[in-house]
Structure formats: structure tokens, C-alpha cells
């Protein structure tokens, strides 16, 4: 069904519409199904992060101490052979007589229907608008779709709210390291000479470390007494401090080439300031290139944050992130008895996968020469 529509633009000679580079790039991007899938997934993920308090059934800090390490509850639609609205079975529990471990079993006699837009714990939207409506929930008992952690906190809610941290770290981190990278790379490439040599040396030193060790070292600089919001800022800063160097090197190469182009020479001959030439004449020329570089580099920030938080050097409670949630699954004991704690990992994989899809499609779309 999509075949004819995707054929059309290439066969037609495009009558009125001017084929600007951007439009051509968009057309090529649209041609990549993986890129489109990735883009849709990313939009969904960021919407989920935005509306996380509404989508999650419970607050991320409330501890249901009677439901510690409860396994995920399944949603059913058939009860005794007949179709019903979606419902769950409440969990009953007893203690293992030997190990005193809680053993959960579904109570199949009392199905509890899932209701939508239920009232629950109050939360604040964007820091202002207060509400207590949640997308779904149950009237009596509890419904933990992904199970609970060692304090009896709902894992689904924590995963959804954790998306806010995990997904924002990459975007903010990229913005910061891009600013540094563009300035350093631009200055280095534009001025050349001693400045260039010194900056290149610095970049070389930054790049001669494997990422993780220096990331770990920098993360331990963040004082443990800091509140979790500051730690978040600190982690973003650490990630961008690592990320700018490779970018600066690339920008330098591009600026070095662009410096000799006629219109830049013309701008210089007209007596424009150096900063203005870099920002207004050289950089716009690199926009598509920088956009691709940003998308391709972004997953490493998500992975970096998750690795740091996983090792306990990243995001701090009561904030939560996917890496921090996986930290609970680190011990072999947890992996054996509570394997559902691994489920936040799926979102790391999906988000990185989506970014890689989009990044590859953007790179192909921006690459005019290969067409």
C-alpha cells in the first residue's frame, strides 16, 4: 500500500515545489522505513517521559511494604471461559516455612477489573498543575504490571518516571558538549597556529582515555552529600565533559575546509568579525552534518548514564533512572529470584535502538554524494 506513494516523488519531476536541500533530505529520510520507525518510537518514548506521572499507576517513592518483591501481575480478559473487560488477579502471599521468603500466588477467585482514569496518589504536572487521575489502576488492592522492588515500590511507575532522567540526560548532555565542541573546534580550525596546536593536544589527551574509566573517575568527584537534583546536573556535566572532544576534532576539520571557501574569504574581505564569520557563515553550512553527528552520538550518553547509575555512581535516590533500576538486579541472588527487575533494561535497548535507526537514516539522508 505504501509502495506507490513512496515511488511518486522520484518519478515525478516536482513541478512547482523547489527542491531545497532540506526537502530533498526529508524525502530521502522518509524513504528509510527503519528511520521512520525509530522516529515514531522516539516520539512515543519522549511523550511517555513527559506524561510519566499520569501514565504510572503509583508514586515512585511510596513503599508498599506488604508487597515486597511481588512478581508482575498479568492482565487477563477471559474469566471462566467468558470474555470480560481486562482484569487482574490480586496476589495472595505466604511465607516459605524454611527460608521465610514471600511466595506470591494469584487469587483466581477474585478478579479485579482494571479501571481507567482512576483517582490515586496526587502528583504535579510540570511542577504546577496538580492532579490525582492516573491512566489506569484498580479500585481495590494493587496492580503492579511489572512487579515491585525490594521496598515494594511499583516497578512500572519507576521505569516510566525514570525515562525522564534517562532520556533527558542525552539531549541536555549533547547540547552542552556540542556548545563546547563547536566553540573549541571552530576556534581551533579557524585560527590555526599555536592555538590550534594546543587545543589539538588537549583533545588528543581527552581522546586517549577509554570512556568508562575516566567517566567513573569524574563521577566520584560529585560529593555524596549533594541532593539528587544537583547530582543529576553533575552527571550531565560529566558526560558532556567527556563527549565534546571527538566532536571538536570533527568540527575543526570541517571549519578548516570551509575557511578556504570563496564566500568565507569574501566575508573576511568585507571586514566581518571572526566570531560572526564562524557563527553566521561557516556553521550554518555544517548544520546538517552537526545534526547527524548529534543523533549518532546521543545513544552513548544514554548508555553512559545507565552504566554510571548501574554502578551506583550516577543518579541518586529518590530520583530514578533505568540504569539505577538495573542496579537492583545486580546481585546473582536478585537475578535468580526476581528476574523481572531486569525489565527497565528493555527500555534502554529500545531507546538506543531507535536513536541508532534515526541516526543512520539521517546520515544517509544528509549524504548527498552517495545518491
Amino acid at each position: 500500500m505504501t509502495k506507490p506513494s513512496s515511488k511518486k516523488p522520484s518519478s515525478k519531476t516536482v513541478p512547482r515545489e523547489r527542491a531545497t536541500p532540506l526537502r530533498m533530505a526529508w524525502r530521502r529520510f522518509r524513504g528509510s522505513s527503519l528511520g521512520l520507525i525509530g522516529a515514531v518510537i522516539l516520539i512515543l518514548l519522549y511523550l511517555v517521559a513527559l506524561f510519566a506521572p499520569f501514565l504510572s499507576p503509583y508514586s515512585i517513592t511510596v513503599q508498599h511494604s506488604r508487597y515486597v518483591y511481588q512478581p508482575p501481575q498479568q492482565v487477563h480478559i477471559f474469566y471462566e471461559g467468558s470474555l470480560r473487560r481486562p482484569f487482574v488477579y490480586p496476589m495472595t502471599q505466604e511465607r516459605d516455612p524454611v527460608t521465610f521468603q514471600r511466595i506470591y500466588a494469584p487469587d483466581t477467585d477474585n478478579p479485579v477489573p482494571i479501571r481507567f482514569l482512576v483517582r490515586g496518589e496526587p502528583y504535579r504536572f510540570f511542577g504546577t498543575w496538580e492532579s490525582d487521575r492516573h491512566l489506569f489502576g484498580v479500585d481495590e488492592g494493587f496492580f503492579f504490571p511489572l512487579g515491585t522492588d525490594r521496598f515494594g515500590r511499583d516497578l512500572l511507575s519507576r521505569t516510566l518516571v525514570g525515562a525522564q532522567v534517562s532520556l533527558s540526560v542525552g539531549v541536555i548532555g549533547i547540547l552542552i558538549s556540542f556548545s563546547i565542541g563547536i566553540v573549541v573546534g571552530g576556534v581551533s580550525g579557524y585560527y590555526g597556529g599555536v592555538v590550534d596546536t594546543l587545543l589539538q593536544r588537549l583533545i588528543e589527551v581527552m581522546l586517549s582515555f577509554p570512556r568508562l574509566p575516566i567517566l567513573l573517575a569524574l563521577a566520584t568527584i560529585i560529593p555524596s552529600s549533594w541532593p539528587s537534583t544537583w547530582v543529576y546536573v553533575g552527571i550531565v556535566a560529566v558526560l558532556s565533559l567527556i563527549g565534546w572532544a571527538s566532536l571538536a576534532r570533527v568540527v575543526r576539520g570541517q571549519v578548516l575546509a570551509a575557511r578556504e571557501i570563496d564566500y568565507v574569504q569574501a566575508a573576511r574581505a568585507m571586514g566581518l568579525g571572526n566570531l560572526r564569520i564562524i557563527l553566521r557563515h561557516i556553521l550554518p553550512n555544517l548544520t546538517s552534518y552537526l545534526l547527524v553527528a548529534a543523533t549518532v552520538a546521543l545513544p552513548s550518553y544514554i548508555l553512559g548514564e545507565s552504566a554510571l547509575s548501574f554502578l551506583g555512581l550516577g543518579i541518586k535516590e529518590p530520583m530514578t533512572s533505568w540504569g539505577l533500576l538495573l542496579k537492583d538486579a545486580q546481585s546473582f541472588e536478585a537475578l535468580r529470584s526476581y528476574p523481572w527487575l531486569l525489565s527497565p533494561g528493555l527500555l534502554i535497548v529500545v531507546s538506543v535502538l531507535a536513536f541508532n535507526f534515526v541516526g543512520d537514516a539521517l546520515r544517509d539522508a544528509a549524504d548527498v554524494r552517495s545518491q
Binding site: 589527551v205 582515555f209 545486580q330
Partner: protein, 325 residues
């Protein structure tokens, strides 16, 4: 001869970079809030004077530049990397074995990566746009997206769910301290596949993709058409003519993917309790055992530089067209 001079020049160029790297290591570690002796201030059994004396003994009361100078001087003149406050041993005795196992795990991973990725890449290129190509490309995407530590966790969970117990550590506990023999080696292999798979998945994805792309480039070249035109069998065309040329750029990729290999080894060794530098680095950073942390940071950087040098030399070796200048 020229190769020798090239290597010598590269090695000499490493010296100033390493020097700057050592400064950076030192600065980062000095920026950590507090110091190693802070823990004793809370201890009711230690008086403030005792802590001060300890600080003096460990050299922590001296100005930063002096500490740095002594450290570097010790390394350059005596190969002495300082003293581990925590383990109460010289750093070099602590780091040596860990570094050895790190290199072992990384090398095994590299061998595994190449053995798996190159044939898969060749097959994917030969059967372009086929089912096999689609499947491997998707699996490659997944391999790039799953963090190494998550692969390790998933594999451990899988083994445990299947009732296995052979997870974590280098070999089964009963072999600790035992001399190396066949059964110990088998136990070692039995434990090693998890870290190797966990560290190697992303590398497999990268090399497989690159191999596929390279081979596709080469398959369009004139000499391949010539080879086909003179009636060579397809297998000979692929293996002798195309693959031989497509593999050269992979050597550079191997050098570029070295940091990932080191990163992966570090985090996986923390998850799986392997005696590689990951655990030691982590513990020393948290304990503010400064000389251990600084030395390990320096070592990872050195390993990376040497690895890149080896990759460049290897490239010159497999591709006689490369010239050094």
C-alpha cells in the same frame, strides 16, 4: 627498516601525551572531595594526631605538585607506581595480575569477535538483501543497543534460571590456588563465555557491518569483474580476491573499537566479579586510594595507545600499499 623507524617515532610521540595524561589523571583524582584519611576522623579509636601522623606517613600532607612529582619520578626512575593505602601494598604488585587478566579477557573477546563477525559479514554481503542479510543486520542493531552489563546480567539470569551455577569469577571455587591443569582450564572456559559474549556483542555488530560494507564496495570493483570474467569459481572470487581486500579497513576498525573493548571489560568484570582492573578501579575510586586509581587510569590510556599503534602496524603489515610518513 622504515617500519622500525615509524614505530620508534610513534613510541616517542606517546611520551608527551602520556605525560599530559598523567597530569590529567592526577588532577581528576585530586578533585575528589575529601581524602583517604577522612574515614579515620570518625573512628573513636583514632585521635586527630594519629590521623595527622598517618597523613604525614602517606605523604598526603604535602602540596599537590609535590605528590605528583614524586609519583611521576618514581614511575620514571624505579617503575614504582606508588603505594596502595587500602591494600597496604605497592601498586605495581596489585595492578600487574589484574592487568594481565584484563588483557586476557580483552584478547579472547577480540578473537571471538573476529571469528564470528567476519564470516557473518561476508555471508550478509554475498546474500545481500536476502533474509540472512536482514536478520544479521537487525541482530547487529540490537547488539549495538544493548549495554554490555545488561548482556552479562541477562546471560547470568539465563544460566541461573536453567539451574546452572557456573557464573562469576574466573573458575569454580575449588580451583582457587590450584595449579593450572586441563580441568581447571575447562572450568575457566566454562566461566569465560559469559564475559566474552557480554563484551563482544557490540564489537561483533560493528565488525560485521563494516565487513559487509567493505565487501560490497569491493564486489563492485573492476578486478572482481575481471576475476569473474576469466571464469574463476565464485568461491575463489569471493575468498581470494574480494575478501582479501575488504579485510584491510577492518584492522583500523579493530583499533578504533579498542576503547569499547576496554570499557566493556571494565564494567563486565565488575558485574561478574572477575579479577580484571574494573573492580580494582571502582574500589580504589570509592576508597580514594589515589595511587591505585591514578595508575589504573594511566594504564587504560597506555593500553589504548599501544593498541592503536599495534593496529596501525598491523594495517601496514596486511596492506603493503600503506606507506609511513
Amino acid at each position: 627498516m622504515s617500519l622500525f623507524i615509524y614505530m620508534l617515532r610513534r613510541l616517542l610521540l606517546m611520551v608527551p601525551t602520556l605525560f599530559l595524561v598523567s597530569i590529567l589523571c592526577f588532577v581528576v583524582i585530586q578533585l575528589q572531595p575529601g581524602s583517604f584519611t577522612d574515614r579515620y576522623l570518625e573512628d573513636p579509636r583514632m585521635s586527630a594526631e594519629t590521623v595527622a601522623r598517618l597523613e604525614q606517613q602517606l605523604g598526603l600532607d604535602r602540596p599537590a605538585y609535590e605528590q605528583y612529582g614524586r609519583w611521576v619520578w618514581g614511575i620514571v626512575t624505579r617503575g614504582d607506581f606508588g603505594f596502595s593505602f587500602f591494600a597496604n601494598r605497592p601498586v605495581s604488585s596489585l595492578v600487574g595480575e589484574q592487568l594481565f587478566w584484563t588483557v586476557v579477557i580483552a584478547s579472547m573477546t577480540m578473537v571471538f569477535t573476529w571469528l564470528v563477525a567476519v564470516p557473518l559479514g561476508i555471508l550478509a554481503a554475498v546474500r545481500r538483501r536476502g533474509v540472512f542479510d536482514g536478520v544479521t543486520s537487525f541482530v547487529g542493531y540490537i547488539g549495538l543497543a544493548v549495554p554490555d552489563f545488561l548482556v552479562a546480567l541477562l546471560l547470568v539470569a539465563l544460566v541461573l534460571a536453567l539451574g546452572g551455577r557456573q557464573v562469576g569469577g574466573l573458575y569454580a571455587p575449588e580451583y582457587i590456588g590450584a595449579p593450572w591443569d586441563v580441568s581447571k582450564f575447562l572450568s575457566f572456559l566454562n566461566h569465560m563465555w559469559i564475559p566474552v559474549l557480554a563484551v563482544g556483542t557490540s564489537g561483533v555488530a560493528v565488525i560485521m557491518r563494516q565487513m559487509r560494507a567493505n565487501l560490497l564496495d569491493v564486489l563492485g570493483a573492476d578486478y572482481v569483474r575481471t576475476a569473474r570474467a576469466k571464469g574463476l569459481r565464485e568461491g575463489v572470487v569471493i575468498n581470494r580476491h574480494a575478501v582479501r581486500n575488504a579485510i584491510n579497513p577492518l584492522v583500523t576498525i579493530a583499533g578504533l573499537s579498542l576503547p569499547d573493548l576496554i570499557n566493556g571489560t571494565i564494567i563486565v568484570s565488575i558485574v561478574l566479579n572477575l579479577p580484571a582492573i574494573g573492580r580494582l578501579l571502582y574500589d580504589s575510586l570509592l576508597a580514594q586510594d589515589q595511587y591505585v586509581a591514578m595508575t589504573l587510569l594511566l594504564m587504560t590510556s597506555l593500553v589504548l595507545m599501544v593498541g592503536n599503534l599495534i593496529a596501525d602496524v598491523a594495517l601496514a603489515w596486511v596492506d603493503p600499499r600503506i606507506r609511513y610518513d
